[in-house]
Symmetry: C2
């Protein structure tokens, strides 16, 4: 066949070989085979043509008067949920112009920078609204620089999403605050603790407000302290991206690795007691809607960050209103002065900069609850998705990750590879057993219990182990966990791949080049490198000297016979 529709369209671009091989797929047109042409019709990607209706935007009014801070001492907090009119105005501004599409980082390569992604569209949206949102991106980044560890990996600069590097993720069983991952959905408000109040309303008997001192008053509310692991449902998403591209919003689907999980000792009060102080739920009140002071953007609408948790979870004392993280007041970036910590649920429910709790009948209709953090079947995607096709993610399943060694690393060892990492299960379950395989998931070794951190009801366990490995060359080390309910992880990424790239629950796999020094030939070869003062790495650099003597080579064939078995066709007799 001649070159078909796809090739014709591409007109010999310089990177065509890579496009043909799926290595630069962002530039590969969609192939529509539903028409009359059996080879299909190439549909080029949408082109970005900027537009901006300045008059329409101006007609909305002065942003500095419209989009102002709601409360004194609450810098960066704009109230949206109470003002339908204000939301409509913001919507008009956003729909009177367009914005560049999100940068491609799945079908093209993930940038090799730190920050990895910048959040250009998010910055543009905030500046388009203006008012109190005009400078929040810069202020937020300053807070990152002040509060987070200098070695953080910044997945997204704004809204800030960052995780620690592998060497620091499990350095301690309790994550130091500057290293705790951050997954913000908007700018970071700056709230004066003395001006702080929490409003509790909706279907409670006596709606009321609480200051931070009210909540801290132990004569009113028993204090609660708990070691809790918070995990983003995007943890290890990069493995799903490496397999197949999914939905690509740079913010929503930042390419998280294994560090979007952290463990802290939180202090606060049980939300149950606060609801009790309001006389309890009334009517059909069955869910608690939680409001964060950060501003969130979704499909050209502007809003506060809102989700909900069911009463059953609150009733079990698994929802804490926390002001302390590892013995310190909450860092600003983690929700100062008060945040929610929902034990055993994804981080998205643990609302930061909490300013309101509303008791409602049904789960929140806010987009973070209803449109995002949805878990789809593999066949659901851009072509057919509906919100109700997804399971709303609350409890996280059992998972685990290897923090050392790193994928593609050459490991020189004496028959055992030292590995370390974490294991976690949501919903109050805990890791009972961690297993490692050096043969791609066929045989499994149990991590000795003395090499695991303590068992807690809502926290991860860190672990380390010397994994027996005789085999050399490229191997796959796989890690899986069994929790106390004996749930475990499927072994392949595809088994749990989904369009939203959430909940990478498959066993963690890393490719390792195993060099086993207990093998005599290997030991001698490494000694040669040493003697010649040539480093062994990089792996793919060819060895510059002869790897075997000619005497040895000839001796081999003298002893074992020639390369080709004797047949009538390699005999020298031409007469046959």
């Amino acid at each position: 066949m001649e070159r078909g529709a796809i090739g014709t369209h591409l007109k010999n671009q310089p990177d065509e070989w890579k496009i043909e091989q799926g290595m630069h797929a962002a530039r590969l047109p969609i192939l529509d085979q539903t028409g009359p042409d059996p080879e299909g019709r190439a549909i080029p990607p949408e082109e970005y043509v900027p537009f901006k209706d300045e008059a329409a935007i101006r007609s909305v009014g002065d942003p500095n008067k419209l989009f102002t801070e709601e409360r004194e001492g609450w810098e960066g907090y704009i109230e949206w949920e109470e003002y339908t009119d204000k939301k409509a105005k913001a919507h008009k501004i956003l729909t009177s112009q367009n914005f560049p599409p999100p940068p491609e980082f799945q079908l093209g390569p993930i940038p090799g920078t730190n920050p990895v992604l910048e959040g250009v569209r998010w910055k543009m949206w905030h500046r388009a609204i203006g008012g109190a949102l005009n400078t929040i991106a810069d202020i937020s980044w300053d807070t990152v620089m002040k509060e987070k560890h200098p070695e953080m990996l910044h997945l997204l600069q704004f809204p800030y999403n960052g995780e620690p590097p592998k060497r620091l993720v499990t350095a301690k069983p309790v994550t130091p605050n500057p290293l705790h991952f951050v997954r913000n959905h908007g700018g970071i408000p700056n709230i004066d603790r003395n001006k702080y109040r929490l409003d509790m309303d909706g279907l409670v008997a006596r709606p009321q407000s609480f200051t931070l001192d009210d909540l801290m008053d132990e004569s009113k509310f028993p204090r609660m302290e708990k070691l809790v692991t918070i995990q983003c449902s995007g943890t290890r998403r990069v493995e799903q991206i490496a397999l197949y591209a999914g939905e690509g919003d740079e913010m929503i689907n930042a390419p998280w690795a294994e560090g979007a999980i952290g463990t802290a000792r939180w202090v606060g009060v049980s939300l149950k007691k606060v609801i009790k102080a309001c006389g309890g739920l009334v009517g059909e009140g069955k869910h608690l809607e939680l409001y964060g002071a950060d501003t969130y953007f979704k499909k050209n609408n502007v809003m506060n960050y809102v989700v909900s948790v069911p009463w059953s979870k609150v009733k079990a004392n698994e929802v804490m209103l926390a002001w302390e993280m590892n013995g310190e007041p909450l860092p600003k970036i983690h929700g100062y002065p008060l945040r929610v910590v929902v034990f055993g649920y994804i981080g998205a429910r643990s609302v930061k900069w909490l300013y309101r709790i509303k008791a409602i009948e049904d789960p929140s209709m806010a987009p973070v609850q209803s449109q995002e953090y949805l878990y789809f079947n593999t066949q659901i995607g851009k072509h057919n998705q509906r919100m109700t096709d997804g399971i709303q993610i609350q409890e996280m399943p059992v998972s685990s990750a290897i923090m050392s060694p790193w994928s593609k690393q050459v490991v020189i060892h004496n028959g055992k590879i030292h590995c370390k990492g974490w294991a976690y299960s949501g919903g109050g379950r805990w890791p009972e057993r961690v297993e490692l395989s050096a043969d791609g998931g066929f045989s499994w070794y149990t991590v000795p219990v003395e090499n695991m951190s303590e068992k807690h009801r809502y926290a991860w366990r860190t672990w380390e182990m010397d994994l027996p490995c005789d085999v050399e060359g490229w191997i796959e080390i796989v890690c899986r966990c069994w929790d106390n309910s004996l749930n475990t992880q499927p072994l392949q990424v595809r088994a749990a791949w989904n369009w939203g790239l959430h909940v990478t629950s498959s066993a963690h796999r890393i490719s390792i080049y195993s060099v086993n020094k207990t093998h005599e030939i290997t030991r001698k070869r490494l000694a040669e490198f040493d003697e010649r003062g040539v480093p062994f790495g990089p792996l793919t650099v060819p060895t510059e000297w002869q790897v075997q003597s000619w005497d040895d080579y000839r001796g081999y064939f003298e002893k074992n016979g020639p390369r080709d078995a004797e047949t009538e066709y390699n005999s020298r007799d031409m007469e046959d």
Copy 2:
């Protein structure tokens, strides 16, 4: 090489070819390669040499006086736990003789009978003790015949283990009592409800006894009603056996299929309220030891059936003392007059014929808790097992099974295969999504939500679906479930295989011969069978007539060229 140690030992037995192929492995000697012979040394299996020390047995005393029923109106109940001396006497009787090894049903074939296994050793043990245990096997079997459905599959005749056939497992979302699976560990006591009492002692403030009327008195105890699925951790064990043999006690490891799960509406009281009526726990009381009136045998010791549940489970109102099952008094075989129902735990904790609850500090040391129902890593087995290497099984993980079609069935369809089955998750989690694959687990279809039974916190969901399948020939249909915590099942049996053959949590796979009548060639071929009045099955019976006309055959090669591509070696020119 010459025939080695294994073959020599076998001396050309008539079934040697099957032994060589691993098809009759019970007769295959163990191969010890740790000695000097590089081929290894064959170790033949232990031979059974009966012995019986009649004098020692007689010296124990008269069984009809020693092993008598403990309470009036409690037929078949012998109290063991209170009498160390009685236990010692029973132990002496059992160790003064030996018993035949359990029948082999893993390395050899599973019998094709109903009952599948008889429980010969168990019957012998009971008769060896004598007294009230002498006739209990026969009495129990009479109860099976009276109370269970005539179509039950009797996995083990005594102690009775039975499950319904696939066509009846999911016929209704609530299992009718006669079809509910039974996994008894001893004989069935026959208890007069008016002579019944439950003793509550140990670490409670006010130890006391309750009659059934006390517990049923709603002025004392609020009544509780709940739909609960009980599952044996041995469910689907037959898949593990088919892969590799594990521990082989016929009773402990009966070859359960997918029917060791049942769902009933239970009525009773919360154990929490009964403990409250005893003034609550005192001291270090943290676990509740549950005593059943049935007699159990383990490693030559005789005892009552005893397990424990943690207080946290009781506190959450997840432990019921139940007297009613689907609107009827408990059948005798299910624990009449009172049993425990532990929501979301394996059936082994739901003690039948409950006569005592003791509050204790630590989990029970009784063998059912400490030595059985343990979940091991794949490398743990006969050669190295310790009790503490196993996770004590409490909550069951997410699982599912296909009830129709059956494995190896030929299914003639019009592009969709109708499937039905169940899905379940322990610990109060519930199936959120059931998925089916017709391609061995590569692509997955979601069962439409309207084809699933209702969502309950402690119950399974039954489901059915028309699964799209274009492919013909041998296929594998796979079923998996995602629960509300997004846990799912590993895809291969090996991923979860374990020595105790417990908790078959891998996705359920069946091999189906797919015959797709929407394919023209297939439609015509089936019509030929019809016209000739020849049944299509069995599949492996060769078709007796020519499957293609010679005209068609010749026409094919005329049109498409000869079978072999033209090369210099199939040309007729000999001079080359």
